[in-house]
């Protein structure tokens, strides 16, 4: 018979106000299976912990029950004390009399009665707990990073600099992501590619980083510390190592394709470099728009390449599958923009001079379609009157995106300011709902733009944009003056919202990581574990988790890298030993085998009994509940324990 001790916490008045602690201690200490019971104002405090430690030694306790707050709070604390006091930590159980009783019930008598039941449940369970040792499994000390934008780049460099191998998987032909498309960044007005470019090159040169472009994650198996990943890479028609980006191939290519990097404002060839600073610095063959690969129809690019002697092209390339083994995965899949054609009131898609903010961004860029000049897409004229519409399709729970994308107030101020700089005689109007400029130097930046550049901020929404006689008629309201306003503009820029990048949903299901209601990757805890997915071993960085700006993205990327490094810092990993176990009575019926989501159960052909792989089992117990002969058991949550707890409740 175990010698069980009970410790009851007052939690200041949080528990003691409603639950009669004295009554709990007195009545419980009379139980025949309890050898000691005590209470303390704060058991989690140093003196409280000392009380537990001393009592365990003094009363030679084999097991303890701590009646306090939710196990989510301090289970680890009390188990550690138990262990430090010489107990196996699995001989410690928590009775949650705060969240389950004192905080949710008003009547002290009823709350105390319920607390009694909760305590006796825990006592019944701990009596049947067996001492366990953690299972150790080796850790593959490599990291997979999905997405080569600024988040993926920063995380890759941090992990690689710490000395671990990184696989960086990028869907497109170059890393750089959205940041590479930006002209300048707020609030410092750094040229985006100037600060990003060096990092991209560093990634490419880093001995610890293997960059896989044109690649996507296809399959993920295994678990934290030991993931087995299949990455599919589209055919590499261009040998990245040999290509010197001379561009002769593109010169002879007959196929013209709208350039997605400039959102179709310029053209590119079917063989192209995504942008001037692309990394890897090699051309990409766009198989979809090539005049013919299967069967080969044109082949001009290869001929040009071979003539020069570079001979880096192979038009017979096939897709490849890379099988990787990694210990941790960082998801840095970034964002896309909401489809502005859905916002029919603003005329995007029908009026050529209504553009999205990122298209305008490309136009501002010195390497963009107009080399940094602001022009109307319809007729190439320099616009005089320009209207920026913030929150376009955002904060509209009824009609479009319910959330705020966080960055638009800032970049719109920058856009309007840059417009006034480039077109001093022009006028910029900004329709806004409210200005959200929380961040270091942000408020000051917006104020500076507004005041120094004479921007006209109108607080209100736009009802309608339409074209009339070559002008865009913007009808809206200024809620401060309470007047309807009409602006005859030359150009309208919509600050459309950020949405998770395409394929996030499929990737989430491949990773078994969950998404939130808006399709962004969920974090394990919104405040305390914002860098981790609820799925162990998967970390999150950047706008794939929620809209955020560059500094925040970089901070999160470094944070996610640190989390992954924490995992990799030890060659082995401890796993909870509360796994399923097969008892001798197993008849080998096999009912449990297909139920396991981890393939941890197999049928041993020799013994004709089921077998549990302790390294794979996560301990959910679904198999246990299915066993017709009760020959499966979950360690420390056995059928006997559950039945004993039921009796404790209904007794």
């Amino acid at each position: 018979m175990k010698r069980v001790g009970l410790f009851v916490c007052h939690c200041g008045l949080n528990i003691a106000r409603t639950v009669d602690i004295k009554d709990i201690v007195e009545k419980t200490s009379k139980r025949s299976d309890i050898v000691f019971a005590a209470d303390h104002k704060y058991l989690c405090s140093e003196p409280g912990q000392a009380l537990i430690k001393d009592s365990i030694r003094q009363h030679k306790l084999d097991a303890i029950v701590v009646a306090a707050c939710s196990p989510a709070m301090h289970e680890a604390t009390f188990k550690t004390i138990a262990q430090l006091s010489g107990l196996n930590k699995y001989n410690c159980e928590i009775a949650n009399i705060r969240e389950q009783s004192s905080w949710v019930h008003d009547d002290p008598q009823k709350a105390t009665e319920k607390a009694h039941i909760i305590v006796s449940e825990a006592i019944e369970k701990v009596k049947l707990n067996e001492p366990l040792q953690p299972i150790t499994v080796p850790v593959t000390r490599k990291v997979l990073i999905i997405g080569g934008g600024i988040a993926g780049i920063r995380a890759s460099l941090d992990v690689a600099n710490a000395g671990y191998q990184v696989y960086l998987v990028e869907k497109s032909g170059s890393i750089g992501g959205r940041m590479a498309q930006l002209s300048e960044t707020f609030p410092t007005l750094d040229c985006a590619i100037c600060i990003l470019g060096p990092l991209m090159v560093e990634v490419y040169r880093h001995p610890n980083i293997k960059l896989l472009r044109l690649s996507q994650v296809e399959e993920v198996r295994g678990y934290i510390g030991n993931f087995k990943v299949k990455v599919r890479q589209e055919p590499e028609y261009v040998d990245v190592a040999k290509c010197n980006a001379c561009g002769e191939c593109a010169k002879v290519c007959p196929a013209d394709v709208p350039n997605e990097f400039d959102f179709g404002l310029t053209w590119r060839k079917a063989i192209y470099t995504p942008f001037a600073q692309a990394v890897p610095p090699a051309y990409v063959l766009d198989a979809k728009n090539c005049l013919g690969l299967l069967p080969q129809a044109c082949g001009e690019c290869k001929k040009a390449c071979d003539q020069l002697g570079t001979a880096c092209m192979n038009l017979d390339a096939w897709p490849q599958t890379h099988e990787l083994e990694v210990g941790a995965i960082i998801v840095a899949t970034g964002y896309e923009l909401y489809d502005a054609t859905k916002l029919t009131e603003y005329g995007y898609g029908t009026c050529p001079d209504v553009m999205t903010s990122i298209e305008f961004e490309r136009m501002l860029s010195a390497s963009g379609p107009t080399l940094g000049e602001i022009r109307r897409p319809s007729d190439g004229r320099v616009p005089r009157e320009i209207v920026f519409i913030q929150c376009a399709g955002q904060r509209e729970p009824e009609t479009a995106l319910p959330y705020c994308s966080k960055i638009c107030c800032m970049y719109t101020a920058r856009h309007a300011m840059m417009f006034r700089e480039k077109v001093p005689e022009g006028q910029a109007y900004v329709f806004y709902m409210d200005i959200r400029a929380g961040g270091k130097g942000y408020e000051e930046f917006v104020k500076r733009c507004q005041e120094e550049r004479g921007l006209l901020y109108l607080r209100g929404r736009v009802a309608k944009v339409y074209e009339e006689n070559g002008k865009l008629i913007v009808k809206g309201v200024d809620t401060i003056s309470g007047k309807r306003v009409q602006i005859n503009a030359d150009l309208v820029v919509l600050a459309v919202g950020m949405i998770p990048s395409a394929g996030s949903k499929e990737l989430a299901s491949t990773l078994k990581a969950s998404l939130d209601a808006n399709g962004f990757f969920s974090e394990a805890h919104p405040k305390l574990r914002p860098l981790e997915s609820p799925t162990a071993g998967i970390y999150l960085a950047g706008a794939g988790q929620a809209p955020k700006d560059i500094p925040e993205t970089v901070a999160q990327a470094s944070g996610a890298a640190a989390k992954a490094l924490d995992l990799l810092s030890s060659p082995t990993l401890e796993r909870e030993p509360t796994v399923a176990q097969v008892l001798e009575t197993c008849s080998g019926c096999g009912i449990c085998i297909p139920l396991c989501p981890y393939e941890a159960l197999t049928l041993n052909a020799n013994t004709n009994q089921a077998e549990v792989s302790e390294a794979l089992c996560e301990g959910c117990g679904t198999c246990v509940a299915s066993c017709p002969s009760s020959s499966l058991s979950l360690r420390n949550l056995t059928d006997q324990q559950i039945l004993a707890m039921i009796e404790a409740i209904v007794a």
């Binding site: 939710s70 949650n96 389950q100 949710v104 609820p534 509360t578 949550l637």
Partner: protein, 143 residues
């Protein structure tokens, strides 16, 4: 004064979603009746239907099984397996002549403290109006 019937309800809460939801109800100081006593299990998939029957046989008037919303299961799809078992269990309850309302399966996520409180309130009231199950005594008489 006649004493109102206070039902006894056993709650099986999965520790990832529903137990955390109950914690949230606690930290938000939401009030609900004390009739349900919760047991923290790893996954709603751990619940063997025989536990439910045992609880009812031992004197419980109702049983709540609560797990993650479909698609959110920490163990991929344990909750779906629970749902399947629950459907069969409901038929069995019919055969025993036990009202289906006494055994509920609910999806409660970690952010749904309010929902947890509502479920406990609703279930307590519903079972209070159904009256005691008295299965224990019925069975003893039968035996």
């Amino acid at each position: 004064m006649e004493k109102t019937f206070e039902p006894k309800i056993v709650g099986f809460l999965c520790k990832w979603c529903s137990y955390a939801g109950a914690d949230l109800a606690g930290t938000s100081r939401m009030k609900y009746p004390p009739n349900l006593n919760a047991m923290r299990v790893n996954c709603s998939g751990r619940i063997d239907p025989s536990f439910v029957l045992r609880a009812l046989a031992s004197g419980a008037d109702g049983v709540l099984i609560a797990g993650c919303h479909p698609g959110d299961c920490h163990y991929t799809n344990g909750n779906v397996k629970t749902l399947r078992r629950f459907r069969l269990l409901q038929r069995m309850l019919d055969q025993f002549g036990i009202e289906r309302e006494r055994v509920r399966l609910e999806w409660i996520s970690a952010s749904e403290g309010e929902r947890y409180a509502r479920v406990v309130r609703g279930m307590t009231e519903e079972i209070r109006s159904l009256g005691p199950l008295n299965w224990k005594t019925t069975m003893e008489v039968a035996a």
